[in-house]
């Protein structure tokens, strides 16, 4: 006897784009999140189109060289004149962040220099624009690596349980007990300030929190039927952890990661301010503020003011976005 095929076939899974659009629709529903999005997009666009780097092949080669230098723990300034690195033509930034205008140092805003100049006569707007590029690259990279490391440990601890869980949890608790700033200080002070070390510090500081979150989610998802089914099929633990459990835990992880990008920007700014960020002459926002702070008494407030404003704007934008998003998602739950 033939079994009648069901007349209604299950609806095909919506494509990636539809799902992404649905996610963005949530974002547009919240006014707070929209304000945040505008603030962040402003800096994202400025960072992307600061110069013609995205169409300039010479610039790609330079970037690749910089990245490989960074991974060999070489200082940019040692290997090459740092002002030679950017041979790109400025677009939104208007000038190179390293170009020194003679006689124009420590000037206030004018038509020539929109936000003024710093003590070496470098255009502040150009430096902020290029600083946005640094901060908006390093923060997500740090968070992604922290997600990979922390997620793996969290999955292992949650899935295996028992002694493994106990050991991992103890170590995680100890790392979380550290005030974050102390962790950054000790790591950067030990390894020296550089882009790679900043990312490393963000990873080490962020991974324990992510691991704890993923562990909690894993403990819950582990008891579901589909995990039991996979175990019965004889799938390997790694397959179950990464293919069965991880995708089903993605919601809270994504919200958490968004908040963490905000923290990472916060942290990179703070490190720069403490002199532990990228070494000069990098247009690091935090170091623009910390250098500019010394000229406040002399009446030149612009470095400190614009640097602070830019950092505050980006961090607040990211936080508003994450906050609005999680509020909207709670409403749907």
């Amino acid at each position: 006897m033939a079994v009648a095929t069901p007349a209604v076939r299950p609806a095909p899974r919506p494509s990636l784009w539809t799902r992404l659009a649905a996610g963005l629709a949530i974002l547009t529903k919240s006014k707070v999140a929209m304000v945040g999005l505008v603030l962040v997009l402003f800096w994202a666009i400025v960072a992307t189109f600061a110069d013609d780097c995205i169409i300039n092949t010479g610039c790609w080669a330079d970037t690749a060289k910089q990245v490989s230098n960074a991974f060999q723990f070489k200082d940019i300034t040692e290997t090459e004149g740092a002002d030679k690195v950017f041979e790109a033509n400025p677009w939104l930034a208007r000038y190179s962040p390293f170009e020194q205008f003679r006689g124009d140092n420590l000037k206030g805003p004018s038509a020539k220099h929109w936000l003024g100049t710093d003590r070496f006569g470098r255009d502040l707007w150009a430096r902020l624009a290029h600083g946005a590029r640094i901060i908006l690259t390093l923060a997500p990279i740090g968070v992604i690596i922290a997600l990979i490391v922390g997620g793996t440990f969290g999955l292992i601890a949650g899935y295996y349980g028992g002694t493994v869980d106990e050991i991992i949890s103890r170590v995680l608790d100890s790392m979380i007990a550290f005030p974050q700033i102390l962790l950054y200080l000790v790591i950067i002070a030990a390894l020296g300030p550089s882009a790679v070390n900043v990312v490393l510090a963000i990873t080490i500081a962020g991974a324990p929190g992510i691991a704890r979150l993923v562990r909690g989610l894993t403990l819950d998802i582990k008891t579901r039927d589909y995990v039991a089914a996979a175990e019965t099929r004889g799938e390997s633990p790694w397959y179950i952890m990464f293919v069965e459990i991880l995708p089903n835990a993605r919601g809270p992880i994504i919200i958490d990661a968004m908040l963490r990008v905000g923290y990472a920007v916060f942290a990179i700014g703070t490190l720069g301010f403490l002199g532990l960020g990228l070494p000069p002459p990098s247009p690091d926002w935090g170091s623009i503020v910390s250098v500019g702070r010394k000229f406040i008494q002399a009446g030149h407030i612009w470095d400190a003011m614009w640097g602070s404003a830019a950092t505050a704007m980006l961090v607040v934008g990211l936080n508003l976005m994450a906050d609005g998003l999680s509020e909207e998602m709670q409403r749907y739950r």
Partner: protein
């Protein structure tokens, strides 16, 4: 309850133990050379080797970790065969170590040529008197060498070998000097963290504990002041926001608190300096502490640091209080009270308030951890002589004992408050079961 207490305390100890290993590993094993940091980068390899030997930096990490934790004076006393004693000189803020002789004299040792051993007997006025020791002080060790274990004038246990002609490099105030008759190996003396001695700072040569106490006092004062100001304001504003959920005043309070909390301390600090110091000229933009008590004498200097901390902390507590109040106002017993026709202020003050404040109180205590982060930055901005700036300067200088001590202290505060929060929570909320 007592079982819960014991369990938590055991966990606390385990956590601190792991933290101590992490702190030690990061600050001592990581690349970066303590000798170069302390002495400058013009030192010769011999000077560097001599410095490392004198400070025990050439020994294996496990040995150094144990010395940091449980000290080395008992080990030295066994090697020397006499008890050793630590003397603190409050005028110079220096520590020195002495052997307690059979005749009750306190002495150190030196030898000009590896043959004649002198003992430098400490006089009541702090000076030393040289006395020649007999040739019978040299004792054979297991390698068949004639050795003498004593304490050198630098305050380290040291092993001299008879007939040795070694040199040792020391950096005095003016210049490098090379001294003949150096010991063959050293054992730096320390009481150990567990016995209350976190070591001596490489930077200032002062005992870390003495400096730390002053700094902790200053920071506790700053944090306490901020705490006293933040708490009432944020609780009241949070309650107002929570009671007016969704209304204009709630939206203004919630969003501005989010903005204040999200803004990094260094940017809010700079803005406050710009507004109140540069523009209005009301308060000084930096803390200039010439003496230990300066910060208590000129309260105007503290306004901006406290204000920065307040801004950052305010938003966080406000949001928690608001959320808690909103939740409580939606519960059935509040609805019952409303339906009974009770006046609104009675509902709020008699019924809602107690439950609404439960969550914020524990969160506030847990928040100490974050406050610490804020304090480091605020102290850096305003040049406040507190614990945070001490940690920062020590970390930048790679002053390992100072970093380690301050880090352990901060972690102890963080973990301790966490435990306190747990207890207070079980206390004010009897429904909680001890796990």
């Amino acid at each position: 309850m007592s079982k819960f207490l014991v369990r938590r305390i055991i966990f606390l100890i385990i956590t601190l133990f792991i933290v101590s290993i992490i702190v030690f590993a990061i600050s001592e094993i990581a690349p970066g050379n303590i000798a170069i940091n302390t002495l400058g980068n013009t030192i010769t390899p011999e000077q560097e080797a001599s410095f490392n030997a004198q400070n025990g930096l050439d020994q294996p990490p496990v040995e150094r970790y144990l010395r940091w934790m449980i000290g080395s004076d008992w080990q030295a006393a066994r090697l020397i065969g006499r008890p050793v004693e630590r003397v603190y000189d409050p005028d110079n803020q220096r520590l020195s170590w002495w052997i307690v002789g059979e005749d009750g004299a306190r002495y150190q040792n030196s030898t000009p040529d590896g043959e004649t051993m002198y003992r430098l007997v400490r006089q009541p006025d702090g000076t030393t008197k040289e006395e020649v020791m007999g040739g019978d002080v040299w004792k054979p060790n297991e390698d068949g060498l004639m050795v003498y274990w004593g304490i050198d004038p630098g305050g380290r246990a040291a092993m001299w070998v008879r007939g040795d002609d070694l040199m040792e490099w020391t950096l005095t105030k003016a210049t490098w000097t090379s001294i003949a008759g150096a010991p063959r190996s050293y054992l730096p003396l320390q009481k150990g963290l567990l016995r209350g001695d976190p070591g001596v700072s490489f930077q200032s040569r002062r005992p870390v504990a003495e400096t730390l106490i002053v700094r902790v006092k200053n920071t506790a004062f700053l944090a306490g002041l901020a705490f006293v100001i933040v708490m009432p304001i944020s609780l009241v504003l949070g309650l107002i926001a929570g009671l007016n959920e969704g209304k204009f005043i709630d939206r203004v309070l919630s969003i501005s608190s989010l903005i204040f909390t999200a803004t990094p301390e260094f940017t809010s600090g700079v803005f406050l300096i710009l507004i109140f110091s540069t523009w209005l000229g009301w308060f000084p933009g930096a803390v200039v502490a010439t003496t230990d008590t300066a910060i208590f004498e000129d309260p105007k200097m503290l306004v901006l640091p406290v204000m920065t901390l307040t801004l950052v902390e305010l938003g966080y507590v406000l949001r928690i209080t608001r959320a808690s109040m909103v939740e409580v106002m939606r519960t059935n017993y509040i609805r019952t009270a409303v339906l009974k026709g009770l006046p609104r202020f009675r509902i709020v003050f008699k019924h809602a308030l107690r439950n609404a404040l439960m969550a914020p109180i524990t969160v506030i205590i847990l928040h100490v951890n974050w406050l610490v982060g804020g304090i480091v930055i605020v102290e850096a901005i305003f040049g406040f002589p507190g614990l945070g700036r001490y940690v920062m300067e020590a970390a930048l200088f790679k002053d390992v004992f100072a970093v380690e001590a301050a880090a352990m202290l901060l972690v102890l505060i963080a973990v301790g408050t966490q435990m306190a929060a747990d207890f207070i929570y079980t206390f004010i909320n009897p429904r909680i079961r001890y796990a």
